[in-house]
């Protein structure tokens, strides 16, 4: 077996690939959060709960309505996104003019209520959800066994992330969105319905969390606390990338996945802390984050 400086290279490649897979997953999760913060300046603490909702919605769709994974992949983000639209329209809009702290506390409350509700109804242990038949099995690489589903996570994440980035940075709709955050009154004067854009953006960001939830259901435990476990890490990623930077969130997600993967190999006990250590260093050196613009 190939070794370098006493390190098993095959093992290391495996860890790098696994890190990349996790990173693409982080990218997917942090994307929605970055959009909602970057464009709406709302710190959405309910993003983790929406991710959990996505996973549970996929489970419910299968068990109550017989809707399979592929259909859920389309339907669930729409349903979760619609839930987001309702939250924005009826809960967040009334406090839109207030300090950021209000929306932060409100979304945090929503997250606690949702998590409590699902624990009450479905218990804390979680629900089973299988990998779709087409993605069962895997490929034997020279240095590891790559399950097909993990490869699919990379593909789906890259596609969704690049489409979203393109839409916001390069299209006319994206230009409206960005203009709306710079100067809503001016954009309104041009005859654009700004409140509608805000609502739809929030719905889209939340829908992305729902999508990530469906992606996660076959590989992670579908349980009420899955979102809160993930949320803090994802927040750290968004902060490292630069609050509101969409490209930054994607690249940082990938990078952090790899760093975490390496930590799991060399010193697993620190794997849950390493991202926060990076966050502290980045904030000390670049307070706006790696890709953020200085205010």
């Amino acid at each position: 077996m190939a070794t370098f400086l006493g390190i098993n290279l095959f093992g290391l490649f495996g860890q790098l690939l696994v890190g990349l897979i996790n990173g693409s997953f982080y990218a997917l999760l942090s994307l929605g959060l970055a959009i909602i913060f970057g464009l709406l300046k709302i710190i959405n603490f309910a993003q983790g709960a929406m991710y959990m909702l996505g996973a549970f919605a996929a489970w419910m769709a299968l068990n109550y309505f017989g809707i399979n994974y592929w259909a859920a992949l389309i339907l669930v983000p729409l349903v979760v996104g619609f839930a987001g639209v309702l939250v924005e329209r009826f809960l967040l809009r009334p406090i839109a003019g207030e300090d950021h702290l209000y929306s932060l506390l409100l979304t945090f409350g929503i997250a606690l209520v949702l998590q409590g509700l699902f624990t009450q109804i479905y218990g804390a242990s979680g629900q089973p959800y299988s990998i779709p038949d087409a993605l069962k099995g895997g490929t034997k690489l020279p240095f590891m066994y790559l399950p097909d589903y993990r490869a699919w996570i990379i593909v789906a994440s890259v596609v969704v992330c690049s489409l979203t980035w393109y839409m916001i940075e390069k299209t006319r709709l994206g230009a409206y969105l960005r203009a709306g955050t710079e100067n809503p009154a001016m954009l309104q004067a041009f005859g654009i319905n700004v409140p509608l854009i805000v609502t739809l953006t929030f719905g889209f960001g939340v829908g992305l969390a729902g999508f990530a939830g469906v992606m996660a259901a076959p590989v992670y435990s579908v349980s009420p606390d899955m979102g809160s476990n993930m949320l803090i890490v994802v927040f750290a990623i968004v902060v490292i990338g630069g609050m509101g930077s969409i490209g930054g969130a994607i690249l940082t997600g990938l990078g952090m996945g790899i760093i975490e993967g390496l930590t799991k190999y060399f010193y697993p006990e620190a794997s849950t802390t390493v991202i926060f250590a990076v966050m502290v260093i980045v904030l000390l050196l670049k307070p706006a984050g790696l890709f953020g613009k200085e205010a």
Binding site: F10, A124, S125, Y145, Y220
Partner: protein, 401 residues
């Protein structure tokens, strides 16, 4: 009138049992009050939680609602899996609410703190669900009673027969906190003493979502058995990943602590065939089915082993209070250890002087999809392990006579 009645009762009992005059007899505060402390909304909510409260309620009702003519009351609280929260609740219960004993008790860290408070107050800790064996070994106390299982029984029940069957080389994926470390070290001893070898271990932080990195490390170790020394969602997540990466095909994966609700949370295709050890299974015989059916009607799910244990130990406590004629802890605990626990849960059972309830344990196999008649049909009992074999000997320094 009440006072006269109480005096008469006391005299009667004193005469009947020749209890010394100095000893507190009768029921203190005119009631027997049982506190149920458990994780009501966190990761362990399904394995004890509200289900433990229901089980204790059932025990009190089945006992008749009164003992020695005094009412039996229940209070319950959520410890949030935090030792400081748990011990301050129990302190309040003892100081202000006349609680006589505390049961439930899930996370070993909480139980450690609470048992200390109870011992200081000379109250009995009825430990139903905690896994650590410390409460009857290095942290033993005359007031500790541990009922359902412990890490030693899990290791003896699951690890020993696998090493015996030629699975020599082991690798652990361990939850990185007190419980995981205890389970790993006890299991390692069993592997070594049975002639096997531990190739390595990786410590995954509690609440890890993605285990793929650890699974790869386990895979490259070349071990015959990958032992999961974790619990709850850590267990389901790690097993799911192990199956996904083909580890379940190339090696045997052993779950060291699996509750029925965890097994139900897994696809039978993944979990089917896994062998594990449990202190109770609802579908064992007529007696267990009868009780479990009543439990499910009230709670909505089949009982986890700790919930059945909570019923059984509450019942035994109340019987001991009745037989002793008092709720004085020192007298009751002696009575509990004299009387043999015997019900649908406790088979061939004795409560040893160290507080360890020694009873039959069961080696079970998680059923495959085609073997399951219904969603609750999850284990097949393969072997019964005697209590002595499972729990090992008592330490001399914990022999509280």
């Amino acid at each position: 009138m009440k006072a006269i009645k109480k005096t008469l009762l006391c005299t009667g009992i004193a005469a009947a049992m020749t209890v010394s005059a100095a000893q507190a007899a009768g029921i203190s505060d005119d009631k027997v009050k049982i506190g149920v402390l458990a994780d009501m909304g966190g990761v362990y909510a399904d394995i004890c939680g509200e289900g433990c409260v229901t089980a204790v309620q059932m025990a009190v009702e089945d006992f008749g609602g009164t003992v020695l003519g005094k009412p039996i009351e229940i209070v319950s609280a959520d410890d949030q899996n935090k030792p400081d929260v748990g011990s301050s609740i129990v302190r309040k219960w003892i100081d202000n609410e006349q609680v006589d004993t505390v049961t439930g008790l899930v996370a070993s860290s909480v139980t450690g703190a609470v048992a200390q408070v109870l011992t200081d107050a000379k109250k009995i800790a009825l430990i139903s669900t905690s896994a650590s064996h410390a409460f009857t070994t290095k942290a033993c106390s005359p007031y500790n009673v541990q009922w359902t299982y412990n890490v030693v029984a899990l290791a003896n029940g699951t690890v020993k027969p696998m090493v015996g069957a030629g699975k020599w080389r082991w690798f652990f994926i361990t939850a990185d906190y007190a419980f995981g470390h205890a389970l790993e070290s006890v299991a390692t001893e069993v592997v070594n003493s049975s002639g096997g070898e531990v190739l390595g271990a990786v410590r995954a932080p509690l609440g890890t979502t993605d285990f793929s990195s650890y699974v790869l490390q386990a895979q490259s170790s070349g071990a015959d058995v990958i032992a999961l020394a974790n619990a709850g969602t850590d267990f389901t997540n790690s097993l799911k990943t192990a199956a996904e990466f083909g580890l379940t095909q190339s090696a045997e994966v052993a779950g060291l602590l699996v509750f029925t609700s965890n097994a139900q949370a897994l696809d039978p295709e993944i979990a089917g065939g896994m062998k594990l050890t449990t202190g109770f299974y609802w579908d064992m015989d007529e007696q267990t089915r009868e009780w479990s059916k009543r439990f499910k009607e009230r709670h909505g799910a089949i009982p986890a082993m700790g919930q059945a244990g909570a019923y059984s130990m509450t019942m035994h406590y109340l019987k001991a209070v009745e037989a002793a004629g008092t709720d004085d802890s020192d007298v009751v605990i002696r009575k509990m250890k004299e009387m043999k626990p015997d019900d649908f849960f406790a088979r061939n059972a004795t409560l040893r002087n160290d507080g360890r309830m020694v009873h039959d344990m069961y080696q079970v196999r998680i059923k495959r999809a085609d073997e399951r008649q219904n969603p609750d049909d999850i284990f097949a009992i393969e072997n019964v392990i005697s209590g002595e074999e499972a729990f090992g000997p008592m330490l001399a320094e914990c022999d509280f006579k």
